[in-house]
Symmetry: C2
Subunit: 201 residues, 2 copies
């Protein structure tokens, strides 16, 4: 099995294939039943590793959750930063950002669900750290809308409005099926269309 995902990857530490497989399986279980309802024996069984092997690769169940969130959010974030650097026009930016996050929602549905739905399961320090990543992602959009407002394309948006609009994306993992890969461009067009209309000066 190849050790790469389709989207760019921040290599914080080597991250073995085994650990990647464990994270994928765990994310699916967490997304399906909720972090608190999934036992380590269940993860062990689903991955095919015994508990010893499992705990050779993870430090704790909490760490596993934190790692899943961190890796996928950093991935999403680095893609967003790249889009911000490459595209200069509002419309392109909004479409590319929409396409980026919606592709993540479809292709890594379980992981994204965990990233946005299971934040409460983290202990305080880690929750704050993950919320910083959420905030950083929001910051990218904030910059897009502020730039657009400065150039007269968008009306100014306050934080409430921006967060409300982000909710469209952050809630979409609950209803966008992972069988909609082919629809990603259409979905991105719909989402970015809504953003463009909602923010029109």
């Amino acid at each position: 099995m190849a050790a790469v995902t389709s989207r760019s990857q921040v290599q914080r530490s080597p991250l073995s294939d085994t650990k990647r497989k464990i994270m994928k399986t765990a994310a699916e279980l967490f997304a399906g039943e909720g972090y608190g309802s999934v036992g380590t024996s269940q993860i062990s069984e689903a991955t095919g590793y015994g508990k010893g092997a499992l705990y050779y690769h993870i430090r704790s169940k909490g760490d596993l959750l934190y790692d899943i969130m961190t890796i996928y959010l950093e991935d999403l974030l680095s893609e967003a930063r790249q889009i911000l650097a490459e595209k200069r026009h509002v419309k392109e930016r909004v479409y590319a950002l929409s396409e980026s996050i919606l592709r993540a929602v479809v292709e890594d549905k379980a992981e994204m669900t965990v990233c946005f739905r299971e934040v409460h399961a983290l202990e305080d320090t880690r929750r704050r750290s993950v919320l910083r990543l959420h905030g950083a992602y929001l910051g990218i959009w904030r910059q897009v809308t502020d730039d657009a407002a400065r150039e007269g394309d968008f009306r100014p948006l306050d934080n409430d409005e921006l967060k409300a609009l982000m909710g469209m994306y952050f809630y979409s993992f609950l209803w966008i099926g992972n069988d909609r890969t082919a629809d990603i461009p259409a979905l991105a067009a719909k989402f970015s269309g809504i953003i463009m209309r909602a923010c029109h000066a």
Copy 2:
């Protein structure tokens, strides 16, 4: 303590004050730590009742979750139906619906969080039942947008677009604090403003 909530209540079965208190406390725990991570002993301790008393009022932990969701979603739904019956103009309808759900998010934050974030924790039959309630609520908005489209005020919206827009509301419990009671009208104005712009013909 009065046995009524501020918003209209569907009286399916008597629903004692004790059970109401248990539901409120449990909803706060579920919202704070996630259904699966909250134990019945914890609920028992937080309510001040022993486990015997607790299980005198509830059939199971799963039932408790289901009851919370059902009651609050039916409440939200009946309010929405009433708005649909009373208001005829799009703008009024959108504002009133926004105000209704945002007030629920602020005033019954924990319960609403559970209603929209813990669906996965339900066993199949009950999950389907709760998802029907979600669908019914979506149906109200569908009718509003369809009526508006028929009269030329809105462009036609497909299901993806409607669900995307609903995500704004359904995700808002994660960032709207329960200290914003005074801001409810302003929030409703912002949300409905976005809807009106996003749907403009």
